[in-house]
Symmetry: C2
Subunit: 345 residues, 2 copies
């Protein structure tokens, strides 16, 4: 059996020597290297931007959608949308584990897992497309995939519905990072609080800051504010336009007696919300940008321009224990589980 | 005297209600509000990208360059290049201090200062352009400028040459942030170490990590490696291509016995160096992106794609004490002062 690289560079066909994600084509032969895991795939959960692009290109015809999906995997050895560059995740069952991983993984053959690394770097072979569910971007297939040694995954628990698990795992980095950065007594603002990532952040923030802290949920409209207050995952809800930095500052000053926030978590996928996030933060406070609409230069130059000594962090979708923490929230909170099942699963 | 807003929103003419930096036009009347500082301007140090654009547009004709500069300030009330969006900084003498700032500022009338906020948000009036020095992007003028309450500045010390001060203040955020994040015993990699910001970071990192730590200077070519080793501001210098993530990882693994770095500071203005920075960092380590070529999405998705639990920070050009710390380095190190005088002043 051949020895593989931790990051899967041994599978890269073109261009040689780079990582699987930026590669044009990777080797999807389903014979594993010594540090790989072979997975029998059940469902592809295609990234929403990617699925929308493919489905529109196919003029919402399922047969054409199927052809495009098969064509991508045929050409690239992975499901990476050539237009959006994005992938998605998959669910499947562990079929074989490379011997070099012995003692390094808690997986065993037969475990049902969701991969938490992107399909855009995962070797994939599709033998047959069984069903496409456009309303939730899912595709059931017969086929196989390879998980690299650096590949992260979550064992799907038996006590939670599969669709709910998939749905929350998609954003599990955000509440886990929230858990790492919020402390007892902190004032925390979550911009985009009523969203899928947002409510998990609110829940986790409230748990960390305790009764002496304050969690503020902000959104453009008073979307789900009643439910959020009733669940007790925020102390205040406020409607504001986060693209209006000055207006946001004024509202947050009012809510915090001019003290501003120790932590601002931005999970709203809207451009030009960097400055509102920065201005709402105390000196020496922390701004956590989880939104993919964040512009690096706007944040860096914006903070300097207003002379704000704040720490600005780029949201990392991975942190140790992120899947476990998020699934546990679904067990701990009956309210959130019911709401997420209704809205997102 | 009228009351002003801390961030200068009272000066914004168009569009109303936003911050001065994104505004199209601001009020450059030189009658101060109660919390403003009036400065007699001596020199504009125009942002390098901006000056190059203007100078090229003027076909390297000084008269045309002058007309473009005057035109920008006439139209916008500030020197913000409409193509690059960037500004620069200025040197001048404090002429008047608003009464509301009493006890809030250490400045007094007659102090010679450099503003550390961008010209792109600073109300400016130019009465006359006296000299343009294209080789160092500087323009001597007769004119005045306004510093807002949130505006940061540094008093120019008398014991250091003005040009050297200006040159190092331009990058003073980087060594100050380095001082905040490096600890005794850390292994620190500075990508772009031989540059203007880079060598200040190396110096400060070496001072923090001490004899039990290790500072590695990396650059594309072995530019100034001899000088850097001789000055003792790095323990190792290595030539590598930071756009090659896998190659960089291999070299850093070799240099660190596979342990990788506690801190990676990226100050190289080259695109696609995010992954090399991330892979060279230990789990739970910190990547500090100071380069304006950093792409937020590439960093965020890249770390998740390879399952690296690293903290990624957006470089803030401002932190308390940044100017003082950087000027002190110029006093503490005869070697660096001589080299910076030769290269950058």
């Amino acid at each position: 059996m051949k020895q593989g690289n931790k990051y899967g560079t041994h599978r890269v066909i073109e261009p040689k020597g780079i990582l699987p994600q930026p590669a044009k084509k990777i080797d999807n032969t389903m014979e594993i290297y010594d540090n790989e895991i072979l997975v029998d795939v059940q469902t592809l959960n295609i990234d929403s931007a990617s699925f929308t692009q493919i489905y529109n290109q196919a003029e919402k015809d399922l047969k054409k959608t199927e052809e495009i999906i098969l064509g991508i995997v045929e050409e690239r050895g992975k499901h990476q949308n050539p237009v959006t560059g994005s992938g998605g995740m998959l669910i499947g069952t562990v079929k074989e584990i490379g011997p070099a991983l012995e003692g390094k993984t808690d997986l065993k053959v037969g475990d049902k897992i969701a991969t938490l690394v992107s399909l855009s770097l995962t070797p994939l072979r599709i033998d047959k497309i069984k069903e496409i569910r456009p309303e939730i971007d899912q595709v059931d297939i017969e086929g196989q995939a390879i998980l690299f040694e650096s590949g992260i995954y979550s064992i799907i628990p038996e006590d939670l519905p599969g669709n709910l698990v998939l749905s929350v795992l998609d954003v599990c980095g955000a509440p886990a990072q929230t858990a790492k950065i919020c402390k007892l007594g902190d004032t925390v603002l979550v911009i985009g609080g009523p969203g899928k990532a947002g409510m998990l952040c609110l829940y986790e923030a409230k748990r960390r800051v305790g009764p002496t802290g304050k969690v503020i949920c902000a959104d453009y409209m008073d979307n789900r504010f009643d439910q959020i207050m009733k669940m007790g995952i925020a102390d205040e809800c406020i409607a504001l336009d986060a693209t209006d930095a000055v207006g946001t500052l004024e509202k947050i000053e009012e809510l915090t007696n001019g003290e501003l926030c120790d932590v601002v978590i931005n999970v709203v996928n809207v451009e030009n919300t960097e400055m509102a996030s920065i201005l709402a933060t105390k000196d020496d406070g922390l701004v956590y940008f989880f939104s993919m609409a964040t512009n690096f230069t706007k944040a860096a130059l914006g903070a300097e321009g207003v002379g704000k000594d704040v720490n600005m962090v780029i949201g990392n979708g991975y942190t140790k224990g992120h899947a476990e923490l998020t699934l546990q929230i679904m067990r701990d909170s009956d309210d959130l589980r019911a709401l997420y099942t209704e809205l997102f699963a």
